[in-house]
């Protein structure tokens, strides 16, 4: 086979490069306009005194940042966000690992199960909210009667009555919604583990637990580490489930940072203050993401 003469090849490569840039340009342009530009606007907004959108607002320097860093509300919300993220990571990973190990087996209906496990993740949040508000309610909810009948509790309980139980319940609901997504990510990693590795260990007489702890678990580490970072950022983001079930209550017990920012901006009409909170939150998350991925690459290194 004869290849094209050199000048033609170079010309083709150049035109292909141009085509490649043309292909990514619209996507990158959209992300620039709707993510990068608003980020810059957020910085600008955060050094002014804008109460509601439309106001130009005086330049106030770092006053909004000082206010934010000095407010106990901000730090309390940050603490709640931390609890929220850690709680979700633990519950979701545990459920997802169990589900992924099951879906990795062979059983009748496994193909169907692999698709429909995503059911909780594909329905709108508002449906999730209605399901659980109803099931956990004291009028017509199924959970309280079931728990009373089975003797777990003596009388119906208010799942959202205290700060602690509200937070716990919300974490469980959110984990219920999100664990299927994590399950499929872990399942993908499981299928990449060569089957003969497991087979060889079985031949050597290694038990189920030994094969899991010596082969599966170590080989899952890179995936779990990536999921930890991505999952943390994704669950940090969650706003609608909290807002629509408790609106941050009772007595601010479930007011995470996104809820606080939303309230400050659109209920308290302090846009600039909320923008400063957003910028600080973004900084925290960036530091976390950078540190976590550094830690990962160090662990992966020699």
């Amino acid at each position: 086979m004869t290849s094209a003469p050199v000048p033609v090849r170079v010309a083709r490569r150049l035109s292909e490069r141009r085509l490649a840039i043309l292909f990514v340009a619209p996507a990158l342009l959209l992300l620039a306009v709707t993510l990068v530009w608003p980020l810059i606007l957020a910085l600008d907004l955060s050094v002014r005194d804008v109460r509601f959108i439309g106001q130009s607002g005086d330049f106030v320097g770092l006053a909004n940042y000082a206010d934010t860093l000095n407010s106990t509300r901000f730090w309390e919300s940050a603490g709640r966000s931390l609890i929220w993220v850690v709680g979700n990571a633990v519950v979701q990973t545990a459920l997802a690992l169990a589900a992924a190990l099951i879906l990795h087996q062979r059983f009748p209906g496994v193909q169907i199960a692999r698709v429909w496990i995503l059911l909780t993740w594909i329905v709108p949040t508002v449906v999730v909210v209605i399901i659980w508000r109803w099931l956990l309610s004291n009028s017509g909810g199924m959970i309280n009667p079931l728990l009373v009948q089975s003797g777990v509790i003596n009388a119906p309980v208010g799942f959202f009555a205290s700060r602690e139980s509200a937070m716990t319940t919300l974490i469980l609901i959110n984990a219920w919604r999100w664990f299927p997504f994590v399950t499929l990510m872990i399942l993908a990693a499981l299928t990449r583990i060569p089957a003969d590795l497991d087979e060889a260990a079985r031949m050597d007489g290694a038990g189920r637990w030994k094969r899991f702890s010596r082969i599966t678990w170590p080989l899952l580490q890179p995936t779990l580490a990536v999921l930890l970072v991505v999952g943390t950022l994704l669950s940090f983001n969650v706003f609608d489930i909290i807002w629509l079930i408790t609106a941050g209550g009772p007595s601010a017990g479930t007011q995470t940072l996104p809820v606080l920012i939303y309230e400050t901006a659109f209920r308290g009409y302090e846009m600039s203050q909320a923008a400063a909170m957003s910028v600080l939150t973004g900084l925290f998350l960036m530091v976390f993401a950078v540190m976590a991925s550094r830690g990962m690459s160090r662990e992966a290194g020699p």
Binding site: A42, I122, V123, I131, G140, R192
Partner: protein
């Protein structure tokens, strides 16, 4: 033997925690009001009524929300496919300057906290006159669906041997022709998976829709329906009927192309 027992125990557990709530909601939507709030809940409906659906469709703006949600979700799916497929091809199949850096930026954008840009986007869109318009929602939803879609296309591109393109190129076919005639047909499952993902993320989006839309006539299901929750004395029958109708479109789509979607997410694990 204990292995099988463990396996089926696990399957039963997940079947109950995922399936039971949905079973209760769907069957609850056709029970009469007295049965819904009965002290002893019934597993199987003892009564049958369509009154909740009738009330929902007649007395609330629910049909409007449903139509708006469909318009936004379908537009988001189309736009995401148009942007994600060429971008993914350029990323994973073409010679692209700064590939590594741009790809990282895309991954970062995937986990980007929307709350951080919520406020400036509101101001920015107000300047552009996009407030209270469904277009605004399509733009925002596409933005947030795009990074994951590009990532997901990677595994589908990986299933197509590079030789096919090479051979066509040797025959002198220009790149656009190769794309249209050869790659797009082969990539149809991937395109479907991306469309499903974009549709679902748009269908469930709440926070931006709650801020960027002002009038009831432009509301989508998540926000409009959340409004119904607070509007009336809590009427569970009505809410369960609404929930069932909001589940229906995504369930139908998933029944049709759920497998392709899962394959895209798991790198061809389900084939």
């Amino acid at each position: 033997m204990t292995g099988r027992l463990l396996l089926w125990g696990g399957i039963g557990f997940f079947l109950v925690i995922i399936g039971l709530p949905f079973w209760w909601v769907v069957t609850g939507s056709i029970k009469d009001p007295a049965e819904i709030i009965a002290r002893d809940p019934t597993m199987f409906p003892q009564s049958f009524t369509l009154q909740h659906y009738a009330k929902l469709l007649a007395a609330s703006a629910y049909p409007t929300y449903l139509v708006n949600s469909l318009i936004v979700a379908v537009s988001t799916a189309v736009l995401t496919v148009l942007l994600a497929v060429p971008a993914a091809y350029a990323f994973f199949r073409m010679e692209l300057p700064f590939r590594e850096g741009m790809y990282r930026a895309i991954l970062l954008a995937y986990a980007f906290p929307g709350i951080i840009v919520l406020i400036p986007i509101y101001g920015f869109f107000a300047q552009l006159g996009l407030i209270d318009s469904l277009v605004a929602l399509v733009i925002v939803n596409t933005t947030f669906a795009l990074p994951f879609s590009i990532w997901m296309m990677r595994s589908f591109l990986g299933t197509i041997p590079q030789d096919i393109e090479e051979a066509a190129r040797m025959d002198g076919a220009p790149t656009p022709v190769i794309l249209r005639r050869i790659l797009v047909p082969l990539l149809l499952p991937g395109i479907a998976a991306v469309a499903v993902f974009a549709f679902i993320s748009s269908w469930t989006e709440y926070i931006f829709a709650s801020i960027l839309i002002l009038s009831d006539a432009q509301r989508t299901i998540p926000v409009g329906f959340a409004g119904i929750i607070g509007q009336y004395q809590i009427d569970w029958g009505l809410l369960l009927a609404g929930a069932t109708l909001a589940i229906l479109p995504v369930v139908i789509i998933f029944a049709l192309i759920g497998r392709t979607f899962v394959a895209g997410m798991t790198d061809g694990a389900v084939k």
